[in-house]
């Protein structure tokens, strides 16, 4: 069992942004599904869940079979149902989009089936007979959990090494709480670990106390699912003032504990990606009256999803487009952010300086990449901190596989789940048949 979380977590202030379906709503929605052949939604899902099949089973009240279909493809189907950007994946691919009809609410239906499975305590998978092989997994986030579960189905013993005290990775510490709260992420971890035979060592510093050499020596294969590192710094004066935080670190503090927002009247979030949008929505949701996203590019050009930004606007968030911070200022703690507007080439426009009031500044401009931790291992290629792997998650060095954010640079939970599983299948082949994926 994972360790309990404190009860006074700030994230508990949030309610679900997308409400769950009850039975009647789920059945009605499921009956709308056309049951497409070679359905586009399946291809749009990184884990290739047989979506029409699981939806048809909901329509017939075969929720057990529905959940099984989902978990067969994606053991993290419960969290993915909540956190996936379905608008850009399965739901975005639904053929109903071309028929002037609302696409099927695939995420909600998946949540309906998987929540039911959790509530009923249904279990679908057993560990395979022991092979005597041992696999080490670095990081206890979605990629490693998906990999470990798949490895266990094939009978390989798994040991996860996690640097932090909490497990689940960003699914526990990073997901926007109006999608999923930390306790639900931990519940999923327990659910996955319940297959048995997965040892989790928290507080384990791979590369430090736990050497890469010892992993390679003591295990038959190693999976690297280390995720991303700390929030990137802006490189402007004043960013070390109290009240200035990396967004990912602040989100983790808000999800796993309490953040005091009582004195915050103005908040500025710097960045234009999904972490930035999550941050503005979270800060706003915690009652901060004035929340501004400061982004150097245009609304059209930001990497954050349009549907997420649209929700942020509905919630009363403001934006400064094509502007950058030049300095953060305050006496004793942050008070304002000095900015300047930039042109299409992101070059400052002379004389366009302005300042934003700020009691809280979050930096959501990316996270460091952790590939360097493997740099000493010959045969593994690291490009700008990202670990290079082939289509099977193989790094090029015998025994070593990788997946998730540390290989894709930072994508969705569902990508990590898919990559972890793919790598596990490759590891299984290598461990049992001596196959390689060079």
């Amino acid at each position: 069992m994972t360790a309990p979380l404190p009860a006074n977590r700030s994230e508990t202030a949030f309610e679900d942004f997308k409400l769950p379906l009850m039975r009647d709503g789920a059945v009605a929605e499921a009956n709308r599904c056309l049951f497409c052949s070679d359905a586009p939604c399946i291809n749009a899902c990184p884990t290739h869940i047989d979506i029409p099949q699981f939806i048809r089973k909901i329509a017939t009240d075969n929720v057990h079979g529905s959940a099984k279909t989902i978990f067969e493809s994606n053991i993290l189907g419960m969290s993915c149902a909540r956190v996936c950007p379905v608008e850009t994946l399965c739901v975005g691919a639904c053929v109903y989009n071309d028929l002037e009809q609302p696409p099927i609410a695939i995420g909600k239906l998946q949540r309906y089936a998987t929540d039911r499975a959790y509530a009923e305590g249904w279990r679908f998978f057993e560990a395979g007979p022991s092979t005597g092989k041992r696999v080490a997994l670095i990081g206890a986030g979605p990629a490693s959990l998906a990999a470990a579960h798949e490895l266990r189905r094939h009978g390989h013993a798994c040991t996860i090494f996690e640097k932090r005290a909490t497990v689940g990775g960003l699914n526990t510490s990073g997901v926007a709480p109006y999608k999923m709260k930390a306790d639900r992420g931990m519940t999923e971890v327990d659910w996955v670990l319940a297959i048995g035979g997965i040892t989790v060592n928290t507080g384990a510093d791979v590369g430090g106390a736990v050497s890469l050499a010892s992993l390679e020596r003591d295990f038959d294969a190693v999976f690297v699912g280390a995720g991303l590192g700390t929030d990137s710094a802006l490189g402007v004066p004043g960013e070390n003032l109290p009240g200035v935080h990396g967004a990912v670190a602040w989100i983790e503090a808000m999800k796993l504990g309490a953040v005091n927002m009582s004195a915050v009247k103005h908040a500025v979030v710097i960045g234009g990606g999904n972490t930035a949008i999550d941050s503005v929505r979270e800060v706003r949701g915690l009652g901060v009256p004035s929340v501004t996203m400061l982004y150097r590019g245009t609304r059209e050009g930001m990497s954050g999803y349009a549907h997420e930004w649209s929700a942020a606007i509905d919630e009363g968030v403001l934006a400064e487009w094509q502007a950058v911070a030049t300095a953060i200022e305050g006496s004793g703690r942050v008070q304002r952010v000095h900015c300047v507007r930039v042109d299409a080439a992101k070059k400052p426009i002379a004389g366009s300086d302005f300042a934003l009031q700020a009691d809280l500044v979050l930096l959501a401009i990316g996270q460091s990449k952790l590939g360097a931790m493997l740099g000493s291992l010959q045969g593994i290629t690291v490009d700008k901190g990202v670990i290079k792997v082939d289509a099977h998650g193989f790094t090029g060095r015998a025994k070593w596989y990788a997946g998730g954010d540390c290989t894709n640079g930072g994508k969705e939970v569902v990508n990590a789940a898919a990559e972890g599983k793919v790598a596990a299948i490759a590891m299984h082949a290598a461990l049992t048949k001596g196959a390689t994926h060079a």
């Binding site: 009956n31 052949s37 586009p40």
Partner: protein
């Protein structure tokens, strides 16, 4: 404005929509409300010796999330005193003199028939409907479908009724027979002025899979019911058409079975019905559905240049024939409108698994390709396609002149080469 008034066997009605003899026509107040809502006529719930009903009585068949797509009941004829029914008939006729009330009857002996016919007519009945159709309960007592399934008994009792009645007599036929025609002819021999069909179809609507008892469940037992509702329309249409095209028959028909809207009514009328009767859809949605029925029918008549109902009655009957008269050289192939296609590929799965494997997925587009050299023109793709008018079946000029099986067998006419038969 097209005229909706119609006449079935001498029973004049302001429009062709009648309540069938069933729960919605159980009492005077109900029928008065129905007439206010716009129903043309009503067939009063069957009078006879009042019975005792069970609970529960109805079962619904949910298809693809649509509740009550099929329906059945194990309710019997009226459970109210005859005197009450007769008094209410009288009151209703007084309030709605232009709306025909047809009284459904079911008794056993000739004396009983004579007596109840007189009482009904005295109360104001514009017509009688002999219930020879009920397939549950009453048939176990030698009435209902037990009569309707025996042409000789049907003819004899019809004869009694016609003898004692001064108003038109309709015979309500049961579909629980191999061929409807002999039963319609029996009613005709008995002197009936028209027939109503179909009554309900013997059915078990479902099974309680936790209690292991069919539905509807009465304690720990069930019994067969009568199947009705939208799902039975195709069976009813066939039986109506089978009588309508029978040269020996020629009686007016009141069509029943799955009529839910004006379009269903048009179909029944085109196949030979001069009125239609509705029960299930009223049970599910209430009397107000008649609004759509009347203005939908009126608009259909206007756009199809019909001034009166009788111009429509039976218009599609000549188009209903034997298989042996179908043109085997008539050839169609499926065409997919690429601009409309949404790429669901339901047609691919249907054609591959359920038809002739001639619709294929393509590499660079989700719009499937129809191999016309293999397409047999079966319609399956068009049926499964969710996009209106995306798939059409287009006639092909294959150079062959029309040839039916009968032509081929008797006159040696040449048939086109078969497709998809390898």
């Amino acid at each position: 404005m097209p005229d909706l008034s119609t006449n079935t066997g001498g029973i004049q009605s302001p429009n062709p929509f009648w309540l069938a003899s069933a729960p919605p026509a159980n009492s005077g107040l109900q029928i008065q409300r129905a007439f206010e809502a716009g129903w043309g006529g009503a067939v009063w719930k069957t009078l006879g010796t009042p019975i005792q009903n069970v609970s529960s009585r109805f079962g619904g068949h949910t298809i693809g999330g649509v509740r009550g797509a099929g329906f059945n009941n194990i309710e019997l004829i009226t459970d109210r005193p005859i005197e009450t029914n007769l008094r209410e008939i009288r009151e209703t006729k007084k309030l709605f003199p232009k709306n025909p009330i047809i009284v459904s009857l079911m008794v056993e002996t000739e004396a009983e028939w004579k007596d109840i016919i007189k009482q009904s007519i005295d109360a104001g009945a514009d017509g009688l409907e002999l219930n020879f159709g009920c397939p549950h309960g009453m048939c176990e007592r030698g009435m209902g479908s037990a009569v309707g399934q025996e042409p000789k008994i049907n003819e004899r009792i019809t004869g009694w009724a016609v003898q004692y009645s001064t108003v038109p007599v309709l015979v309500k036929l049961t579909p629980n027979v191999g061929d409807i025609v002999p039963h319609g002819l029996a009613a005709k021999r008995g002197g009936a002025h028209g027939v109503s069909l179909i009554n309900t179809i013997k059915s078990i609507i479902g099974v309680d899979i936790d209690r292991f008892v069919p539905q509807p469940r009465v304690g720990n037992l069930s019994t067969n019911g009568g199947y009705c509702g939208a799902a039975v329309k195709p069976i009813a249409l066939h039986m109506v058409a089978a009588l309508a095209r029978e040269k020996q028959f020629g009686l007016p028909i009141s069509g029943i079975g799955g009529v839910c809207n004006w379009r269903d009514a048009v179909e029944f009328i085109l196949l030979g019905s001069s009125t239609v009767q509705v029960c299930t859809e009223v049970m599910l949605r209430g009397y107000k559905i008649v609004q759509d029925m009347t203005d939908g029918l009126q608009e259909y008549m206007r756009t199809h240049n019909f001034q009166r109902i009788d111009q429509m009655v039976g218009k599609a009957v000549p188009g209903f024939s034997e298989w042996g008269n179908l043109d085997l050289n008539y050839e169609t192939v499926a065409k997919i409108d690429a601009d409309k296609c949404i790429g669901c590929q339901l047609c691919v799965a249907a054609c591959h698994d359920g038809a002739h494997q001639c619709i294929h997925p393509q590499q660079d587009t989700r719009v499937p390709h129809v191999d016309e050299s293999e397409c047999v023109g079966c319609n399956l793709c068009q049926i499964v396609c969710p996009v209106p008018d995306c798939i059409t079946l287009v006639p092909v000029d294959n150079g062959f002149t029309p040839a039916t099986w009968n032509d081929h067998v008797h006159h040696g006419k040449a048939l086109r080469p078969k497709k998809g038969a390898h």
